[in-house]
């Protein structure tokens, strides 16, 4: 595997989770079936949902299982707009409130809603650390009657933790439901859905070592129902599709494993991350650390390196067996200039030199040492290549 420092892209599945997953795949029966085989599968599924619910502080009935984070987010945003249109008429103007530093699952859904449904999107600015500006949010909430406010719990690129409690308080005071994308934060930060007081929250299993293709939308029992994205059986609160028992069992197992060691491991991760940051900054003087200085995901280090292309840095590190990310979305293997960095006010040129290290539960001091030992040479070479390609 080499030195894997891309846990925020996906986190490898621990062996114990893999065993649970494979065992669960042997189960017979559809949990929606009436017979006893179905009942046994349903029991396994509900047990897993209860375990997830305990960790994220919600009721099991509030968990709607999905095919992943993207479906969860799309369901929350599109479902809210469609439900408003259904209640108030198809020509009802709808407004959603969000920031330009959200994950693409949110941004692209917002753009689609804007183009297809005429939804007005009110953008709340983020500061130069990628943190949503709650003063602006308050003004926007007073001026509009939004259908929903959509925010990250922690930014998936630059790691900045968002003032979610404050966002929730302001929104709820204004009578606006809140959706929180907790995907990057899950397993790394304490999450309590009920205490946050938000309306909806999206989760994904594979970021915590569970399977890809499994996620959840936590939807408050007090929330107005959302219009469905998928139709065909209505297995759970408007969401159709056969329930993935093994996937949810593995999700629960992975999340429990994370939660058990979260505080201790989180501190270790943060210490290793800080050590990496200090050594990289010492080795290459003009490296700039991006994102929040004091409130960020413990395993996240995001930097920009002047005069370098992020994808060239990534290539060179890959040649040394070190796997990292530029942090931004890719189209056919080409990273775009990060919309998060642009939202934070960086120029496109600066944003192109971005690199995200995301440490996880298997990261060791040796991994950090491996990066530090090659980094100055990699930057030197990337700068030469950057100048060669004349951008």
């Amino acid at each position: 595997m080499g030195v894997y420092l891309d846990y925020q892209a996906t986190s490898p599945m621990p062996e114990s989770v893999r065993e649970v997953y494979v065992d669960a795949l042997a189960g017979v029966g559809n949990p929606s079936s009436i017979h006893q085989a179905g009942q046994r599968q349903r029991a396994i599924l509900e047990d897993a949902k209860e375990r997830i619910a305990r960790i994220v502080g919600c009721e099991p009935i509030e968990i709607i299982l999905t095919s992943g984070g993207t479906e969860a987010i799309n369901t929350a945003l599109k479902g809210a707009v469609w439900a408003a249109q259904a209640a108030r008429g198809p020509d009802t103007p709808t407004t959603l409130v969000s920031s330009r530093a959200e994950h693409h699952a949110t941004l692209d859904a917002l753009h689609w809603l804007s183009a297809q449904e005429g939804t007005d999107v009110a953008w709340v600015p983020v500061d130069d650390q990628g943190v949503l500006d709650t003063d602006s949010l308050e003004v926007i909430l007073a001026d509009h009657r939004p259908v929903m406010v959509a925010t990250l719990l922690a930014n998936n690129e630059v790691g900045s933790i968002q003032p979610v409690e404050e966002i929730a308080r302001l929104s709820l005071e204004a009578g606006t439901p809140v959706h929180v994308d907790a995907i990057a934060a899950l397993g790394y930060l304490p999450i309590n859905f009920a205490e946050l007081g938000v309306t909806a929250m999206s989760l994904s299993a594979h970021k915590v070592g569970g399977p890809v293709g499994v996620g959840a939308l936590v939807l408050s029992r007090h929330a107005p129902e959302l219009s469905a994205l998928l139709h065909g059986g209505d297995q759970q609160r408007g969401r159709s599709g056969t329930l993935d028992v093994a996937g949810v069992v593995a999700f629960a197992a992975a999340l429990e494993l994370r939660e058990q060691g979260r505080i201790e491991h989180g501190a270790q991760l943060a210490a290793m991350r800080d050590s990496l940051r200090e050594q990289l900054c010492a080795a290459v003087g003009d490296v700039v650390v991006r994102g929040s200085h004091d409130a960020r995901l413990p395993g996240n280090l995001h930097i920009t390196v002047p005069g370098c292309e992020g994808d060239v840095l990534l290539y060179l590190l890959d040649q040394h067996g070190i796997q990292v990310s530029t942090g931004s979305a890719c189209q056919a293997g080409v990273p775009e200039a990060s919309h998060v960095l642009l939202a934070m006010g960086l120029s496109e040129e600066t944003a192109r030199g971005a690199l995200r290290f995301s440490l996880g539960y298997h990261t060791t001091e040796d991994d950090i040492e491996a990066v530090v030992s090659v980094f100055p040479r990699v930057v030197e070479q990337a700068r030469a290549a950057g100048m060669a390609s004349g951008r």
């Binding site: 290539y315 060179l316 189209q331 056919a332 293997g333 080409v334 070479q381 060669a388 390609s389 004349g390």
Partner: protein, 384 residues
Amino acid sequence: MGVKVLAAMSGGVDSAVAAARAVEAGHEVVGVHLALSRMPGTLRTGARGCCTIEDSMDARRVADMLEIPFYVWDFSERFAQDVVQDFIDEYSEGRTPNPCMRCNQHIKFQAVLERGLALGFDAIATGHYASVVEGPQGKELHRAATWAKDQSYVLGVLTTEQLEHCYFPLATTPSKDEVRAEAAERGFFVAAKPDSHDICFIPDGDTRGWLAERVGERQGPVLTAEGEVVGSHQGAHAYTVGQRKGLQLGYPAADGKPRYVLEVRPKTNEVVVGPKEALAISELAGSVMSFAGADPVRSGLAEDASDEHGFGCEPFSCHVQVRAHADPVAASARVSGGELVVSLLEPLLGVAPGQSAVIYVGTRVLGQCTIDRTVSALQEVSSG
């Protein structure tokens, strides 16, 4: 002993087999697909063969089979500027550019090669049908073993320095069929993929419509060489010297023979037409030139005649080719006054400013110039 080779992989069959041969030759190969379009299509359509996400995936699957690392390099910005914008600018100036040559000149063998060299590669391998030969004065570029598939013309822009790092594994392949058979044998599913032959950034092949959208349409006169107005057009930039179709002239010429575009005058938005004979030129010249390998003097072909404009040489016998699939014609070339001047032994028809004139001596590509002006076999016609 193998070297570090950057294999440019378009997703087509030629570059796939070229990469495979580079691996088999014992080199340390890394596959790179160039993202040249800012908004790539998802699926391949028609005759396009390099710029969609499907093409990128095709290249990746070949790299997977070869068990080599694979990356996509984004050169869309450089491509937009150096190839697409150049194409628009050249047409706006009444010239006829060759975008594939511009891409080779500025992207593949400049930006990509330079990045590759900076990243520790020794050479770039492509699926071009052409040969690099070690000559007495260093590396030389030659035609491929098979004339029919030869692509040395579009490589005529390579400089001596670039040639040092070029590797064309298909040089000695007798036919495309053989390349396809080899691809099939290696299990590449791109074996039967259609060839690409349109301009890659004009999806539907409608160059005139594409240019009209970018340059705008403006009605202007179609004139004879004598100045008589014989029709109108929707923008001079849409016409190319030698063009016959699409003139839509209201009435025939006095002699009843078809008329051809002789000259495009973008400044006055005029298109000049005339009989086929008037297309014949006896000389062409250009000041933007390059030599692939040793220049004519160092190659022992001509005496030095350098002047205040720099390099110069006495006339020498050669062949000149003005289009990728044109026949080469016998000529005498010299460099004087900062221009490569080519006198044709037989008149040549339909040569437009902006095209590249590639000079051959036997099978060797000596160099090229971008044509600035031509001399009519009847009377002087220049680009104005």
